[in-house]
């Protein structure tokens, strides 16, 4: 009996011990990866009508430029493609695309129908062997083919990265021409990539600091047409502008819309002192937001409209402060070395972009709204005036070179500090302001 009991115990122990020893799956933690553009393949969109050949090629090239221009994606040259698409419905041979290490594949078709351009496309995840999202079809007038391409790129960008795109947007800025000591400046408008440049004002007066309304159909800016800085509101559709009311004997500048588009916050100089005010866009009494002997300027609303970040030298040096949108005691958020200015609240609400001057260099940087985690993204002789892309992923700003032949250009940089590049298409320019995504 004893032996039987022992045997039974032994059997139980042998069967149960391994179970107890079961550690589950082998577990590892990856905290370090690589950051490199995701390779994608974009075969030329198939022309589904005889007259859509050039349009298909143009749209394909704009989509590729959008995606590759982000620095997040890398196009695999079409010459390396193994599979060819004769039709939009051609089944995807995933092995062929894996062979060239494509991780995403975009297949599309373009047709001309009734004077309109019709674009349809599908996005495939090569390594999961399935379509990513559903196919989509867009149509627009032939003149708006670039917007079609931008919208397709936005959808692809969104599906892969998980955040909204920013390609179908525009930038308003100050276009500059002529020598440095007699430079002509005028407002200009262009696609985010510089295409479709058009001017909103002539060069008879100095203008600067244009800002879009939340709906993107109006621009508010500062003009010297009266000899002193004053704020002017311009309707993009008809290019008509009107001065905002002001108190006699004052100068107003640095305007910016509230997120709901109902208010304009700006700086007002009177008697040598500059404070922040806000007033209804449609007219009304201005509301004073700050009251100190220091210079307060460059206000920017938080996305929820509850707070305002601005710059002030009340501490003796130029620093960033945040206060309630209705005014009140501001809280200083910048404490690093150097001077901080031109703060702009991110559309996501989590970061504030700014210009920093330190040790003879200018930087574009970002910090959290409590001032923590400050990161400088650029460094040059003169970088200033950041503006956020609609998705809060990219910052555009002005970079001016040094010397008598100095020129100003627009640059953009990813908030990671990568993919710094010049916006070539607009020529010499400054003071960019990014619009929201177009409807």
């Amino acid at each position: 009996m004893l032996r039987i009991v022992l045997a039974a115990l032994a059997a139980v122990s042998l069967t149960s011990a391994p179970v107890l020893a079961q550690q589950g799956p082998l577990r590892i933690e990856i905290t370090d990866g690589v950051i490199e553009p995701l390779p994608y393949a974009l075969p030329g969109f198939v022309a589904e009508t005889a007259d859509a050949g050039k349009m298909a090629a143009d749209i394909t090239s704009v989509i590729a430029a959008d995606l590759s221009g982000t620095g997040l994606f890398r196009e695999i040259p079409q010459s390396a493609h193994i599979q060819r698409f004769a039709s939009f419905e051609t089944p995807v041979s995933y092995a062929d695309w894996q062979a060239i290490n494509a991780q995403a594949l975009i297949v599309g078709g373009v047709a001309m129908s009734g004077g309109k351009v019709v674009v349809k496309f599908r996005l495939f995840d090569i390594y999961s062997g399935q379509q990513l999202g559903e196919g989509q079809q867009l149509a627009a007038s032939a003149a708006s083919w670039r917007r079609l391409a931008h919208k397709v790129a936005d959808v692809i960008y969104s599906r892969i990265t998980g955040e909204s795109g920013y390609f179908d947007s525009r930038v308003v800025f100050v276009s500059e021409s002529g020598p440095k000591n007699a430079r002509a400046k005028r407002l200009a408008l262009a696609d985010y990539d510089g295409a479709g440049l058009q001017f909103l004002t002539d060069s008879s007066t100095i203008v600067f600091a244009p800002r879009f309304s939340p709906t993107g159909d109006k621009v508010i800016y500062t003009t010297y047409e009266t000899g002193f800085p004053r704020i002017k509101l311009l309707d993009i559709a008809n290019v008509r502008a009107s001065l905002l009311p002001e108190v006699p004997g004052t100068m107003t500048f640095a305007p910016r819309f509230s997120p709901d588009g109902q208010w304009v916050v700006y700086s007002l100089e009177q008697g040598g002192n500059t404070d922040l005010y806000k007033m209804p866009v449609n007219g009304g009494a201005p509301v004073r937001l700050t009251n100190s002997p220091a210079i307060e300027t460059a206000p920017s609303f938080s996305p929820d409209g509850a707070r305002i970040v601005f710059e002030s030298d009340r501490s003796g040096t130029q620093q960033l402060y945040i206060m309630p949108a209705s005014g009140g005691e501001p809280t200083r958020i910048s404490f690093g070395e150097g001077r901080y200015g031109t703060p702009v609240w991110s559309p996501r609400g989590d970061l504030v972009a700014f210009t920093k001057q330190h040790a003879g260099r200018f930087h574009i940087g970002v910090m959290r709204t409590d001032g923590s985690e400050e990161r400088l993204l650029t460094s040059s002789f003169l970088d200033e005036g950041p503006t956020w892309s609609p998705n809060g992923r990219v910052i555009m700003f002005t970079r001016q070179s040094a010397g008598a032949e100095a020129v100003s250009n627009l640059y953009s940089v990813d908030i990671s500090g990568r993919n710094l590049k010049k916006v070539d298409a607009v020529g010499q320019a400054s003071d960019p302001a990014w619009s929201p995504l177009l409807p």
Binding site: R3, I4, L6, A7, A8, A10, A11, V12, L14, T15, A17, P18, L20, A21, Q22, G24, P25, L26, R27, I28, E29, I30, D32, G33, V34, I35, P37, L38, F73, D125, Y127, S128, T161, G162, E163, N181, I206, F208, A209, Y224, P229, A254, T297, R339, T342, Q357, A359, G360, R361, H363, R375, S379, L382, G385, R393, Q400, A402, I415, S416, G417
Partner: protein, 413 residues
């Protein structure tokens, strides 16, 4: 006589000369000294500086009024010749003249710069390093922290030396101290095998090195493994042989390799069975146990046998996976999301792609987790296509892998 005269004359002359020399030496020096002071610096200072200052003073005040007069000078110069004498003055004025009209233009420009930009001085570059730091800091490979816990118990071997030097027979005093620590671990395991096997072991070798050093460090962590390691390490090689026989009976398994691995474990237990060979009943029970184990190994219930995957082998796997984990196209929210992905592995080290699934995430929304999961999935598929560098003899330990993709060091803050 003439000689006397000559002597007198000579002495007289010499006396006169000597007196003269003495007188010159005495009085002449005093007269001469002040003379050299006259020509020294006084002439240079007084003459040169006054002229210069006069010229400068004359020129300086003239400069400002000349700005207003300057425009008129060209007209006079064209008609009258005497002006050349005044030309040196115009040479000074031309500079201020062009500056005067140039100033008004800059005066308007400063207004712009004051509003839009702080005065831009240009010089040094020190901050770039600050930009690099935040990026460089994250890369610092703390990932070893994940493996470090495996090594953390090492400090415990230190107490081992105390135990080791103690002779085997000195247990009485030492036993009290060591018993408390050892008794907690051993009693649970020892009581069962004790009646069968341990008696001979105690005599042969209370393997001092193994029991004192190895077990103390290992037991605390690997209490459950203490039984497994003894039987697993060697059995592995044997299982391969019996494998083909048993799978042939079951014929349920799809792939041959996993089938060969399954019998490996039962075979691993064989050596254990040989020890208790003394009793038939025990053998039978063991055989039943073994049979039961083989039958039950079809799924997750199978216990890994053999030595566990070492930290180095884990590290090799980590290196392999992270090389394909590309977070470059992830959103900032996805970069704040940690996802845990589980995948079943084939014996050849290749992942079974169909089994890849996300078993958890934290730090972000579901949409962000999906993006982060896709990046992790791509990493597994891409780098696993050629098989991960895993020891085939330890397949039971990695037949299923759980990978935590934590972008903490990759995220954009």
């Amino acid at each position: 006589m003439p000689m006397e005269r000559a002597d007198r004359i000579g002495t007289g002359v010499s006396a006169a000369l000597h007196l003269g020399v003495i007188a010159w030496a005495i009085f002449g020096g005093a007269w001469i000294k002040p003379k050299p002071t006259d020509p020294v610096t006084m002439t240079e200072v007084s003459v040169m500086s006054e002229a210069d200052f006069a010229a400068m003073m004359a020129a300086a005040p003239k400069a400002t009024p000349q700005t207003s007069e300057a425009p008129a000078q060209p007209q006079a110069a064209a008609e009258t010749a005497p002006t050349p004498e005044v030309t040196p003055e115009p040479e000074v004025t031309p500079e201020p003249v062009p500056q005067a009209p140039a100033e008004p233009a800059p005066e308007t420009a400063p207004d712009l710069t004051e509003l839009t930009q702080p005065t831009p001085p240009a010089e040094v570059t020190e901050v770039p390093p600050e930009m690099l730091q935040p990026e460089i800091v994250p890369p610092v490979e703390v990932p070893q922290d994940t493996t470090s816990p495996d090594f953390s118990p090492r400090p415990r071997p230190k107490p081992a030396p105390r135990v080791a030097p103690t002779p085997a027979e000195a247990p009485a005093p030492d036993a009290k101290v060591s018993e408390t620590a050892v008794a907690e671990t051993r009693p649970e395991e020892a009581p069962e095998p004790a009646p069968v096997v341990e008696p001979p072991k105690e005599e042969a070798a209370p393997p001092e090195a193994t029991t004192e050093i190895v077990t103390e460090a290992m037991e605390t962590e690997d209490k459950p493994q203490t039984s497994a390691p003894l039987s697993t390490p060697r059995p592995r090689s044997k299982p391969a042989k019996p494998a083909p026989e048993k799978p042939a009976e079951k014929t349920e398994t799809t792939s041959a390799k996993p089938a060969s691995d399954k019998p490996a474990k039962p075979a691993a237990a064989k050596p254990a069975a040989t020890k208790p060979a003394a009793g038939d009943a025990v053998n039978d029970a063991l055989a039943e146990a073994m049979a039961g184990e083989t039958e039950g190994t079809g799924g997750t219930g199978r216990a890994p046998s053999g030595p566990p995957v070492t930290a180095g082998e884990k590290e090799a796997l980590i290196v392999d996976v992270k090389a394909c984990w590309n977070v470059g196209a992830l959103s900032s929210e996805a970069l704040r999301t940690t996802v845990t992905v589980r995948v079943a592995m084939n014996p050849d080290g290749k992942p079974d792609i169909k089994t890849i699934k996300m078993v958890g995430f934290e730090g972000g929304s579901e949409a962000a987790a999906k993006q982060a999961y896709e990046a992790g999935r791509r990493a597994i598929v891409r780098c696993g296509s050629d098989g991960f560098p895993l020891p085939s003899e330890k397949y039971d330990h990695w037949r299923e892998i759980e990978i935590v993709f934590n972008p903490e060091k990759m995220r954009m803050k």
